[in-house]
Amino acid sequence: MIPAETSRPPVLSVRALHKRYRELVAVEELSFDVGRGEIVGLLGPNGAGKTTTINMVLGVLQPSAGQVLVDGIDVARRREQALARTNFAAVYAPLPGNLTVWQNLRYFGLIYGVRDLSARIDALLLQFALERFRDTRCGLLSSGEQTRVCLAKAMLNRPPLLLLDEPTASLDPATAQDIRQLIRRLAREEGGGILWTSHNMGEVEEVCDRVLLMSRGRLLLQGDPCTLPQEHGADSLEDLFIRVAREPLQFGGGR
């Protein structure tokens, strides 16, 4: 377990976040922090509000109320500065398939203002075993290879905050294992905070320092993924997840 650095403000602070679409409340009174070097799992059944939360952190969705601070910077007020400290990879946001791996990394590297970009791209190609795909169009890659390119793009600007929405969903077990180790190492060495969503509870137990369990837009439980199930009388994290998904009222998930 990697202890989160406490001397500086959290890399992500979400305060009383709320998103309403007319009658539908997608996220309600959500508050949590992600510390430096900490990997936090954001868990919940489909429709729990995980992606809505990530979209609000990324500034592509305006919260109805509440505040998101990245590295102490308010996303709503200083969007550019906050997003320069953030990056993300998500299965539903593949990079343009008509550009090669290298072209995509260069394109986004310029947008993120990455210094010494060519060297950074070469390092990432090596890190994610993408060298042989350097000049291959992303649309021609397998879904697992595309995921690795997305992760390389997500690391371009060495973001203090990294948002990963099911980053290993399309990877084979061996590659997924490699990616998990790589991301853990990056969090440890570069001190970035990571918000990680996944439906693979084994992976969450292996990777995350802390988990947040959401249902129906509300944060119901949070804690250490290894001890949280026992604290709530569940056999495993998966068992706890299923109970939260099926009986959210038991855990304070009203509405």
Binding site: K19, Y21, T51, T52, N55, L58, G59, V60, L61, Q62, R79, E80, Q81, L83, A84, T86, F88, A90, Y92, A93, P94, L95, P96, G97, N98, L99, T100, Q103, R106, Y107, F108, G109, L110, I111, Y112, G113, K153
Partner: protein
């Protein structure tokens, strides 16, 4: 304004062009076809009867200038559509890129692409059909500038429409130049139009250009206040178009449309 970020947006288009002949060809092929078609038509008109009018600078010049405007507009919209077609909005708009940087990238791309089209048109029209741009003199530059600015403004407005109303609205924006052409008085004097159409024409900078062009060809002096008025109007419209795009983007972020763009509507 971070110029490296703007360069990133432009570079993406360069990469696409470099690897795709189907993207390069439309930059000059359709305008070349237009010049050839209208070139022969004006040649026939000149030969058909002693009307005393030289149709080459009158008609072929008008076609060239109008096609230039159309290429500028399409340069902006096509660059924007590349993000639409590759479902790249989330990747682009979740970066530190500002709206002004993004739009500037589209404008720079369009400028480069339309200059290529213009060069091909100038070459074809002068070498193939004897259109001399000395006939317009130095006025060619303000003519092109006004049309360029109006093309940029309309391209940004068209992109805003697609951002607001979803991918299907792409089909609304392609015919925009054709819809506007009757009001722009490309081929006939403004006075030919009924009063209500003239009122709309006066809001369109190209009408000042084509009126000026006809005056020059007829050997009359161009009205500089009118041309400068057209330029000021075009500049104002570029500013308003940028404001509209930023406002539509804000709406897309507030409503959740940007995050769920493939749904086309959040209602």
């Amino acid at each position: 304004m971070k110029w490296r970020a703007v360069a990133g947006v432009v570079l993406r288009q360069v990469y696409l062009m470099r690897s795709s002949p189907t993207r390069v060809l439309p930059l000059f092929a359709w305008v070349a076809v237009d010049i050839v078609l209208w070139g022969f038509f004006t040649r026939w008109l000149n030969a058909a009867g002693p009307s005393g009018i030289d149709f080459v600078p009158q008609l072929l010049g008008a076609v060239l200038l109008w096609d230039f405007f159309g290429r500028v507009m399409q340069g902006v919209t096509t660059a924007f559509f590349e993000d639409l077609w590759s479902r790249n909005f989330l990747n682009v708009f979740a970066t530190p890129l500002t709206i002004s940087e993004y739009v500037s990238g589209l404008v720079v791309t369009s400028t480069a692409a339309s200059m290529l089209g213009l060069a091909v048109m100038l070459l074809l029209a002068s070498a193939g059909f004897g259109l001399s741009f000395f006939a317009y003199g130095i006025l060619l530059l303000p003519f092109l500038l006004v049309l360029f600015l109006f093309g940029i403004a309309l391209g940004i407005v068209a992109s805003a429409i697609v951002l607001r109303y979803g991918p299907a609205s792409e089909w609304l924006v392609w015919p925009l130049p054709a819809v506007l052409s009757p009001f722009a008085a490309v081929f006939y004097p403004l006075s030919t139009l009924p009063e209500w159409m003239q009122a709309i024409s006066r809001l369109m900078p190209p009408s000042y250009v084509f009126e000026g062009m006809r005056a020059v060809v007829a050997g009359q002096g161009v009205s500089w206040p009118m041309l400068l008025g057209g330029l000021a109007l075009a500049l104002l419209q570029v500013f308003l178009a940028g404001w509209l795009f930023a406002r539509v983007h804000r709406h897309a972020v507030n409503s959740g449309l940007l995050a769920r763009y493939s749904a086309e509507s959040v209602n």
